[in-house]
Structures are given as structure tokens and as C-alpha cells.
Symmetry: D2
């Protein structure tokens, strides 16, 4: 018997509608490097969804690649990027930001989040030091929405962070690798137009939200990153067949697919969370999105892993660990039922 699969949200190819779009346009004869009509159509749909008709939209391939390309092209050489200690760029990107010449200035996180106050204090410390010319100037704030722990910034929190960024001359960059699962979450009050209004750059994730690969980099104020195509190329991030990316994002933003992908995964995640709580499990992190964290003792874990693929997060104490289930567009309702029955 095959195991139930709840280990991660980027281990299946692509939503059937996305694949179908590729198959239908197999002989594209499209022009290269994102200059094609498919990409243009996808850009236009994203601009509309963001209510930001002037935005620049670029399609890159992967998450680390997109993060680093944005950070390195927005920061000037003397600047670093502020991130939560739990931020993906700090933890699991192999030092790619430093590889491009910039420091990650890591601030302590709470459930994956940092606050406007922390950011302001960090910048104040820099400017307050007589020797700040010998120090790394904070130049950008990197957030993820949802965070690496599945939590969400509220609109109020983001407004406050934006205010600090404006006052302190910092760029605000939000990594939405799992953005579909934030946007469709009942607990969320931050929309795409909000992101376009508050961010200097943000990413609408494809890889974990229904495509084979691909992240849409949205730059609300056109031209904010100069010569971006050349800089994408320098970072090895310019896809020759950019239209493959364009076709996929066109599909995601047609007939509300991006929302449906998010909503389906959230609905399933909520059912699992409810079942966990009902069965007396403690949720390790108060995540309302498609990542479900829970505490389990070692014996039960072993038993569960015989039937279900899931992810280990960390050891809680001698007897217990925190584990993670993930749902996605690929999660089947019957698998959720079976999982709940097992719990």
C-alpha cells in the first residue's frame, strides 16, 4: 500500500490546467527570453489581479534564484538586507546572498515574523553609531508571506513595516513562494493589490503553487530595478524559453486558478488541523495556511510514518518531536479522509 503523501508542497509536477496549457501550445514559435505574447498575456493578468497596471513583471525560475537576483539588484554594494533569523535567505539558500556580496542582517523572529519596531531599531542602531561608515547599511527588508512557519503578516503589520521602510529609506521585498496559500486563507487580510501598494518588489510563487517551476517577480513601480533583464542574465536566471513560464502563469491567472489552488489546500489543511486538535495533538506553531505543525511523541510518530509521508521539523524534548503535514493543489480529498481516520 502506497503511503499517504503529506510531506511537502513541491513534489508533484504541475496542476493539470497548467500542463494542458503547455500541451496545447507545444508548437509555440514564440520569441525568446520572455519577449513573447504568452508572457505578455500572463503579465497583463497579473497586473490586473494586482490592480497595478504599470507594474513590471518578470518570470524567473526558482525561489533562491529569484530572491538573490532581486536582493542583489536592489541593494547597492554598501547595503545589506534585513531578514528574520528564520528567513529562507538566512537558513537554506547556501549563503547565496553573501555569495553576491551582501550581508543578511538577521533579526530574531517570532513564529517566523519580525516587527516594524525591530526593523526601526536595527536601522537606528546603524545611524546612531559614529562609525557607521565602517558598517553595513540596512538597505532592504525581506519578509516571506506566508512565512517559513506558515504564519501570516496582517495588513496592519505590513502597513507598519512599510511606514518604517519609507521613513528609513529601505526597500520592502516580500517573498511569496507560497503566496496562493496566504491569499486564499480566511485568516488573511492582505490582498495582491495590498502587496502591490506596499512592496517595492514581491514574488508570486509558482513552484509551490501549481507550476512545474517559476516565480513571478512583480515590481509595482516600473523601472525600479534598472536593466533588470541584463542583471537577470548575469545571475544565470534568464530562461531562453521564457514563454514556458508565461504559459504557466497565464494558466494560473485564468479563471481564478491561483485562488482555487490556494483555497483547496487551505480547506484540506483546516480539516487536518481540526482533526489534530480534536485528537488532542498540540499544534506547535499557530499556522493558518497549508503547512500544519503538530507535536507528537516518538512512538506514535513511528507508527504514523508507516502510513503517511510527512516532514520532521525539530525535536521538542526527549520524548516528542514537531512534525509537519503539507497540503497543496495535488492533495486528494480521500487522502485527507484517510489521514484523519488514522489520526
Amino acid at each position: 500500500m502506497e503511503k499517504l503523501y503529506f510531506a511537502s508542497d513541491y513534489m508533484d509536477c504541475a496542476h493539470p490546467a497548467v500542463l494542458q496549457k503547455l500541451c496545447e501550445n507545444n508548437l509555440a514559435h514564440a520569441s525568446g527570453y520572455g519577449s513573447d505574447t504568452f508572457s505578455d498575456a500572463a503579465r497583463e493578468k497579473i497586473r490586473t489581479a494586482c490592480r497595478c497596471p504599470g507594474a513590471d513583471v518578470y518570470f524567473l525560475t526558482g525561489g533562491t534564484q529569484s530572491n538573490v537576483t532581486v536582493i542583489d539588484t536592489v541593494l547597492r554594494p554598501w547595503q545589506g538586507v534585513i531578514s528574520a533569523t528564520s528567513g529562507h535567505i538566512q537558513i537554506h539558500e547556501a549563503g547565496a546572498v553573501e555569495f553576491c556580496g551582501h550581508r543578511v542582517i538577521a533579526l530574531p523572529n517570532r513564529d517566523g515574523k519580525i516587527t516594524a519596531e525591530q526593523i526601526d531599531a536595527c536601522v537606528a542602531e546603524y545611524w546612531g553609531d559614529d562609525n557607521h561608515e565602517h558598517m553595513v547599511m540596512p538597505g532592504m527588508v525581506y519578509l516571506s508571506q506566508p512565512t517559513e512557519y506558515g504564519t501570516l503578516y496582517s495588513l496592519q503589520e505590513l502597513e507598519a513595516i512599510r511606514a518604517v521602510c519609507t521613513a528609513r529609506d529601505l526597500a520592502l521585498f516580500i517573498d511569496g513562494a507560497r503566496l496562493a496559500y496566504a491569499l486564499a486563507c480566511p485568516a488573511n487580510d492582505v490582498t495582491l493589490p495590498d502587496l502591490a501598494r506596499l512592496c517595492d518588489v514581491f514574488i508570486i510563487g509558482g513552484t509551490k503553487c501549481g507550476t512545474l517551476f517559476g516565480e513571478a517577480v512583480v515590481i509595482p513601480v516600473s523601472g525600479f530595478i534598472p536593466h533588470f533583464v541584463t542583471q537577470i542574465k548575469q545571475h544565470g536566471a534568464l530562461l531562453a524559453k521564457g514563454f514556458v513560464n508565461g504559459l504557466q502563469f497565464d494558466a494560473l491567472f485564468t479563471d481564478g486558478l491561483y485562488h482555487r489552488i490556494g483555497a483547496g489546500a487551505i480547506e484540506k489543511a483546516d480539516r487536518i488541523r481540526a482533526a489534530l486538535v480534536a485528537h488532542g495533538y498540540s499544534l506547535g506553531i499557530p499556522s493558518p495556511t497549508n503547512q500544519i505543525f503538530f507535536i507528537i511523541d516518538d512512538a506514535k510518530r513511528q507508527q504514523l510514518e508507516e502510513r503517511v509521508a510527512m516532514s520532521f521539523m525539530e525535536r521538542v524534548d526527549e520524548r516528542q518531536v514537531m512534525m509537519r503535514f503539507c497540503t497543496s493543489w495535488a492533495t486528494k480529498d480521500e487522502d485527507v479522509d484517510t489521514l484523519i481516520s488514522i489520526l
Copy 2:
């Protein structure tokens, strides 16, 4: 009436067999970053095709990305890479090699090729200079097969270059972005096992040879590039869903598809070349592969472009230009017939 399409070889999605492989395995539940069984299967097939059972094989996304990641991880900081002045890394990669800290040492090319003698002289000049500690040490040779001009290195030429590389302690790296069109070419005498025997690293191109994207980096001596996964990640080149790459290369190396793709395109290119010559056109560059270069006067060009999409190469004189047709897996026989009838 739609134009006949002969402009380039990377403007269609993917060979139907490749797309089918993706569709069949859509719910892969594969593990991430190339650690999956599909990628393993593809690696094994490539090792067999190269008769090199010990080779490391990694799947990257794009051409510039693969070139730069290989060059930057093989070279030590004090070294540069030798290339033809026509090499892709010198001309059309936005200075990505320099962006990573290394000089491209460009040698004059003849129809896109450089010789063992040129390479040897370049290295001799470095070591012969009393101040070579103040100079860039040549550390690697970059060739493309076929070249950017569609020409081929013969086995004898490559053996001679390998001998210089061995004598001079240079790594030999061959970029096979269009390798299918070399391997299937009657004029070619360099096989995959030859490449595995002669190169320190070489690339089996996917993007221009039937996949949506993807390049296979083959390292015949396992471990030649240390900590390569981390370094790929640092270069923003590690695909989360590596299995999408694995699935595509598995398809390419099943039932001889890679050869069939090359052979079909060459057969069509040869027909077009024959027709051009028969109609009195002069071929600008003696290319035997899927790129066909020819000289045409301005008036005829304009006329032709109304019916056929092709690429401009360079102006030859006041009256004539050099143009390019490309064939690929996506070229239809009837389109070749029509093109020939037009010529």
C-alpha cells in the same frame, strides 16, 4: 497565411515524447533538488550513453546558468577561461563570467573554432612573462560543439586540444547546448564516449534539443567539482522540482530520442543547404549542422521574409547580408518542402 518558421531552434515547448513523460508522471510525489528516482534513471541512461559509469550528472536549467556555474566552480580565483572570440560566454552572456569574478581570455576564432596551437601559445605567453603573478592565469578551455556558427570540432582537433590541456594543466569544458545536432551529423566523428574521455566537464543540451528547458552537466571523473550541489544553489541554479528535469532527460535518452531529434533536424537542414546551393546561394559559413547560413541580397531578403521567419546574422556588404535558417525537432517536412519551393 502563417509564415514558415526557420528562425531558431528554441522557440517551441518540448518534443511530444518529453511532454508526455511529464503528463504521465504528473503526481510524482518525488523528492526535491534532483534527489529523486526519475533523475537517477536519467543519470544512469546518460552514463550508459557516454560509456562512463562513474560520471557525475547534474541537471541545470539554462545555458548561461550552466556555463557560468561550471566555469566559476572549476576555476580558482586567480584563473580565467580561454574561449573563442565568438564563444557564447564572450558574446551573449552579459558578462556573467566576469560577474562571477573571472576573465574570459578570448582568442581569435575561425568559423567559431580555436586551435590547440592557439591555446598552447596563450598559456606559454602567461608563463613566459616575468610578471605572470600579476596576470590572469589561464585555467580552463571553453569550447562549444557544435560552435555558435554551427561548425564542428573533429576528433583529431579535440584530441590535440586535450593534449595541450593535459600538458598545461587546464580543464577542458565543452558546451553542447546543441549537442544533438552535432552527434547526429554525418560530418561528425566525436561521440558521447569521446566527450566523456576528453572533457573534464561537458554539457548535453536540452533546451535547444527537445526539452522545455534543462542542460545536463556531465562530470566524467566523479567529484571533480567539490560540493557542487551547494555551489549550484549559490548560483541560483538548483531547481526545487529537479525531477521535472530528470523526467525530461529520461525521455530524451529513451529509445534513441536524442539521436532521432538530431538526425531529423540535420536531414532537413541538409535538404535546405542543397537547395540553397542549387539555387546559387553562397553559404556564408561551412556549417554541417542544424544552422544554415547563406548570403542573400537585400531585395531578395525582403521578399523572402514575407513568407519565412529567419535570423539576421550580419551585413556582408552594401548589398548583401548573411542570414540563418534553423531546423529542430519541431521542423515539419512540408515546411521544408515549401521553403525549398520558395527558394
Copy 3:
């Protein structure tokens, strides 16, 4: 009336013996880039002082420059350097390590120091993570002796750190920008031969210890950093008139000058410390070297600053601050007397 000067230890030109050596050899006709006989003589004296006849010795210009050149040439691209949070490379070098592509992995310090246990735990965490291929590998330990807070590593502490470095395959690099003030300190039990035995690279500071500028980089195992001259050049750190550096270090290591410079400054610092304690001041940091830290209330500080140039360290509470006096080769006995009388 001119203020007494105790603000810092690198605000005077050079010890008279060093200047005299330059003046005596003004028409050097020396060869360039450190290949001269003066540099050779200085190297030999340093090797003798370190009882390390095989060491490579290079003379660089400044502190940040030397730190970064060493760190960047020892680390491989996938590695970062472990430092105390108070380390100079983390605090006041403008992100120069990251600028060269490497992360500073900062560990909490105690009076400027980190421990073998902390280092071991940091490396264990890296290797213990299933995803360490996506993380920055610790590749080197950076210590300063004396530390930025004037404290000293004991021989036992360094032996323990060396043992961890050996077990964990880390390079050990000690920045001795103020090394003269450690070596001559009664509390110190770490000699130059100890440093040569324990370190992979260490720096014998000149700038703060009697020269116009200059740091001696000592590499006990010759060849440990390959092609170092070229890499120094690439980092903009190769002085054309290397002999100016050689002449200065020759003077420092002739007739025990380096020791005398240190001893004189320590003796004066000890007198000041004793006076501070006698007058009821609390020493903020237990530093036994040429930096003297003390707590003073705001009113007294203002009064004192009218007569004495000193450095502000940090605010302790609403009423008090921590200040610093520095002694050096240039400190005059009568100024110490006057300072003590003022206290």
C-alpha cells in the same frame, strides 16, 4: 593647554626607530612587490621569533585588507567564517567579508571571546542538518588576540579551539592587530611560537604597534594559501614598494623593539588601571592589555574630557557610560602621571 591623548593607539606616525630605518634606506633601489632584500630580512627575523623556519610571511597594508584577503583566499566558495559577534570582521569592516562572497557566522561573545564548545556546537549543527547542502559550511575560525575588548585567549583556550578546528576541518586564523600588547602582557601565556604551532594563518600587527602601516601575515605551513601573491594583487593589497613594509618590520623585529613597544604600553596601562581602581572606578571589562575600560558617570565624564582625549564605548545606564583609555608606544610617562593626578 593641549589635551592628554589616550583616545587610541593608531593616531601617531611610527616609532622613531622605524622612521629612522626608513630614512637611512631612503635610496633603496629595492625590487618591487615584496621581492626585496629588506622584506627578506624582516621575514627571516619573524620566522626566527616564531621558531618557524618554514613559514610564509607576507606584508600587507591594513587590518581589514589583511583579514579579508586571508579569509577570502582560505575559504572555499561554499564556506563561511566563524567569529565572535564582537569580532572586527563582523562589526566594523563594512561587510567586506560578505563583499568577497562569504558569510560571517557570528557566535555570542563573552568579553570578546568565544569558546571551543561554541565552535564545536556550531559545526555540529551544520553537519546535523539533513539540508546542510543548502547551508553555509563553517570553514574557518577567526579570533583576535588581544580581542577587540582587550582580553586574551589563554594557551589552554587556544589549544582547545585548535583541537576542535583539527577535528572539524576548520582553518584557524588569529588577527593580531594589537599583538604586541598581548605578547608583552604579564597575564599572557601565548607566545609567537605557540601561534605558529596552533594557527593556519595569523597576523602580527604593525599599524597599531609602531609602524606607519602594515600587517605581517604569517602562514606557518608554506604554501597553505596557493598563488597568494596573485590573490593579494586581486584584492588590491599588493604594495608596489613592498620594501617600505619590509624595512618597518625589520625595525620592529630588531633588538626586541616589538616587545619593548608592547611592554611599555602595558606598564603604563597597568598604572592607569591601578589608579582607576584606587579611585573607585569600576573597570567595565577585565582587560589586561593596552585598552583600559572603565565606568564613569556623565558629569565626571564631561569634566574629564576637558583635559583628556578618550573614547566612548557604550552607555551603561541613564547616568553612566563605559569609556576607554588606550596606551601605545607613543604614550609619555609624564602624561600618565598627569592623567593619574586628574583621576
Copy 4:
């Protein structure tokens, strides 16, 4: 008998007036990193000499360091620097420009010089290419005055180059490592005020013109390079005791010393050149400055080298080589007499 010394111009410590200035101010108690009054005084004298009261002036340590720091901080990441193939940055700086991420775009030189027409054609080629987004954008012109071959750009030539730079949006950077020997040369018609008017950045060389070390970077329009102190620091080029640099340049620009150094060396060089011509030697390169090139056959060379230290340039044919004499502030009249008598 000691050899006559004409091998190079940076093999003696410093002009006596420069050393004296250091000795007189040995107990400087100056503030650090160039924020001292000596540096301010030197800056003011340089501004006056350049008739450019608003200029930024920074003192760096060495030639390669200054070139690379300027080039890397003026260029944006997508840009490269145009240089003569004979330019120091192209030949003998160990790829330091590429190490910082930028391509050197090398144009063929004539006696060390390039022309406005060449520069314009190079930029036109970039913009004329449909794929220029995939290419390195020329962003700066690097010239040396005098050139590496001792030749001079005329005012007319520089005006023409400036016009192209303005039209093409290129920064103009002139490396005056040997500037004293240009300014004092009768053949020269380019003054310091001309340089300040025409350049975006230029260097007044110290190392080869009378100081122990040091280059003055002059930025006529204040603020042209933002956050330059931090960027200097990141490049490892910020001298702690910046006042040592300031003191030296103060001496150079007091009582016309910089001019006298240049004039003395040129007068001696002219005498040697006249003697060479009188004795039938052919001057290999028409250099009017302190570098004297001449052709000599192998037998005579060997004979001459027994008495005179000089530099080998290149082999002319089987029987002859080109050699170089250099004069400087340190060249003695009697040595010139003896050299002439030997010739």
C-alpha cells in the same frame, strides 16, 4: 662598483621633503581614516592646484587598489570598462577588475593610446546589437596619462574623448600613476585643471612620484561616487592612519614639489634620450616622459647590463630587444652623466 640605477621609478622610499614631513609630525595624534587635518590640508592644496574647489579628494594606498576601487564603485553591475589593450588594468592587475565583477573591454592601442573614434565605435556596436541586453554595456573609459608606454594624450585628444563620453553616457577615468612626469613634460598641454574639467575621476599618483605609497583620487563633482568611504573600506583600501597619506600629499603639493619632481626627471630623461639618438640608438616608442625606450642588440645589452640596471620590454627580432630606462626624483645628475658616457 654599484650599478647605475635606471630600472624603474618606484624603487626608492620617498622624496626627502616627504620623509621630513612625516618625521616632523611623528606624534600626530591625528584622527583616523582620513578625517584628520593633515589630509584636509592636502585636499585643499590639491583642489587649489586643480582649480576645482568643490572636488572630493580621497587618499588610497596603491595603484591597482585605486583603479579597481574607482572602477567598481562607478560602474553599475551590468557595465564594463573600456581600456587600451596595453592598459594596466588589462595587463598587470591580475584580473582585479573582473574579480570585482566587471569586464575590461580592451581596444587595440597605438603607443599605449586609444582614440575617441574607437570608443565611439565600441559603444555604437553595443547599442546597434539587437541583443545588447545580453551583452556588457560600456560604462566607463579608462585611460592612463602618461600611458604605460610613456606617451601623452593631447588636450585635443582628451577633449574629443570627453565629448564621446558625454554623448554616450560614459564616465571618464584617468589613471595618473605617473602624472608628475606628464604635467612637467614640455610636450604636455594637459593641466590639472584640464583633468578636473574633463574627467569624472582621476588619480594623482604618489607612489611613483615621490611618496612612500599613496594615490590621490580626485572626484571633481562632489558626491559622484556615493558612500565612497564605506566602499573604499569594503575594497580593503581604507588606511587606518590616513594622515600618513595626507602628510605626504601635503608635502607633494607644497612649494611646487610635485612639479619639481616631474621636471627634474624629465630633464634627465631628455638628456638620456638625446644621447641615445646621438649614438645611433632607435627609440622604440616616441615617449616624451620619464620612461625611455630604445632598441639595442643582444651583445651590447649584455655589456650595458654589467654597469646599468634597466628593464627588459620585449624582443624586437632575433638580434635586438627593446629596453627601458626610467628616471625619477631619485635619479642623480652624476648617474645620468655616467650613463651617457657609457652609451
